[in-house]
Symmetry: C2
Subunit: 305 residues, 2 copies
């Protein structure tokens, strides 16, 4: 399988997702920026702003090529002496809705290939409701579990735990949202706890995850787009977006890597919300919907069981 | 000189600054939280919100004691075998005004002492105008230069350059604001390019810097508190605050260190603005006041000369 086949899939995935999101939003339209990366390759960043459902959302495709950066070498435990070139391609998405009852969502699917033949897939999808709705959390996780189960019986358990650990804000002792799945360094000969999947099988899994995005999120957009909300609930949304900023800028490995290796800043930071607030030492009223949400932002809740 | 003398000065500095800020603001009052640090010692955090001039401002005093954390050991190039205890004490300030013509300001003065007798001072003060006003930048830098010059002829040149390098946002290729001074690891036997200052002399310098804060900032509050501003200028302020968030969460060493060593999150993040916005790929109109400000957010402008 050549890298072009994977790039073509990711490009088409970006097209299909943007089309589904636009159709569901009804008003917002994506604008596109085509850009080149300083080391080679480039991408196309698509932004939707001020839609009917979405306040700001980004869907980014990129395929960056170049020599392996020292920072990446270190992160991947590569030797110093070989002349490694890489291709890194993928699709990244973050959506910030207007209505605080519609959740924030993030998805990323990606593929790395080194000139020595090593390659791997990675990705993840996680949901960050401003207000946790248990039936939505169950729907989200059971949909992801079905997608995982079609490819390997261990994937959901392993990758949902990985998401709990990855999408976690240590300085707040909170998960970012209600989790999802996260996976990385899935190499053809090592994946699946000893039950190796071929490269084609891994790609099929990643395709399935990528294609699960639009049905999941358009359903949640439709379900909650007309939920009434108060000014106080909008303020809570701004505070939760503040946490989203904290996670992305302080802890997210992909964001840090992108910023430190001189990636395209506007594409990396398209994940940031249009507006975020911070209020010193804010604590919701005991028993409130906001307090209930905080109680559900923790690891190991097993929404799919 | 005992550490208690330095702690007493920092406590009094916090008191004096809060008093001067309250008197100038006229409406806002500081509320205080006393807290203990998990490793020993603690602090008192004071927050002012919704004042007449200040939208949100924090003045934090702390004196934290404990065993040297592995993360700090590494940062300070300490050996692994000795049983180091430390005291870290200081005052940190960030002020976010309502009026976009009043600048954001930050100040920090601090002192570290290790159980082996090693000690050093550090600190800095920098100004982040939403709109750069050249006469304000000159006033700010010449005031700091005078304070530096009273203690060592090389300090201003050295520390203003250090501030340009420290308060810099690589992924935006912008300085955070118009700089100021920054200094660290000033040890009694090493400071001043070979012209050693005694511990008492270094403390006198740090006192002078700390005491320069209130006169500088109350003057700028008064000068601009009643400047008229438009909704579009307020929006620009929110975008500039977004950059402030990016600097503090991605690049600021003190913030990262605090969050990674399980410091008191609300005291560390009191530096974040009450509201920050991000707009994809925003670029001000050529020739506008916003564009002129961006042109002045670079290193080496020599405002004091």
């Amino acid at each position: 399988m050549k890298v072009e086949e994977i790039e073509d899939f990711f490009r088409a995935l970006q097209d299909n997702i943007c089309q589904a999101i636009e159709a569901t939003d009804g008003i917002g339209k994506f604008r596109e920026d085509i850009w080149a990366h300083h080391s080679g390759g480039g991408g196309r960043t698509r932004l939707i702003q001020n839609g009917d459902v979405l306040e700001k959302g980004g869907v980014n495709f990129s395929s960056v090529k170049g020599e392996v950066h020292p920072r990446l070498r270190q992160q991947m435990n590569l030797g110093d002496n070989d002349d490694f070139h890489f291709t890194a391609t993928g699709v990244s998405i973050v959506m910030h809705p207007k209505n605080p009852h519609v959740p924030i969502i993030h998805m990323n699917v990606r593929y790395f290939e080194l000139s020595n033949g090593t390659c791997w897939f990675g990705g993840g999808i996680d949901l960050t409701p401003h207000y946790v709705v248990e039936t939505d959390a169950q729907f989200f996780h059971t949909t992801l579990k079905s997608a995982c189960d079609r490819h390997h019986p261990d994937f959901y358990e392993k990758f949902s735990k990985w998401a709990d650990d990855y999408f976690y804000i240590p300085h707040r002792n909170e998960t970012r949202g209600i989790g999802g799945i996260f996976f990385d360094y899935m190499k053809p000969d090592e994946a699946g706890n000893g039950n190796a999947l071929s490269k084609r099988q891994l790609f099929d899994f990643v395709k399935d995850i990528g294609e699960s995005f639009a049905p999941i999120y358009t359903a949640l957009m439709q379900k909650h787009r007309n939920d009434p909300f108060t000014e106080q609930q909008k303020q809570w949304q701004f505070l939760r977006r503040g946490r989203y900023v904290e996670f992305n800028l302080v802890w997210d490995r992909g964001t840090k890597f992108g910023l430190e290796t001189n990636g395209r800043t506007e594409s990396i930071l398209m994940s940031l919300p249009p507006q975020a607030n911070w209020e010193y030492n804010f604590e919701p009223q005991p028993g409130s919907e906001e307090a209930k949400t905080l109680e559900l932002l923790k690891k190991g809740l097993n929404w799919a069981s």
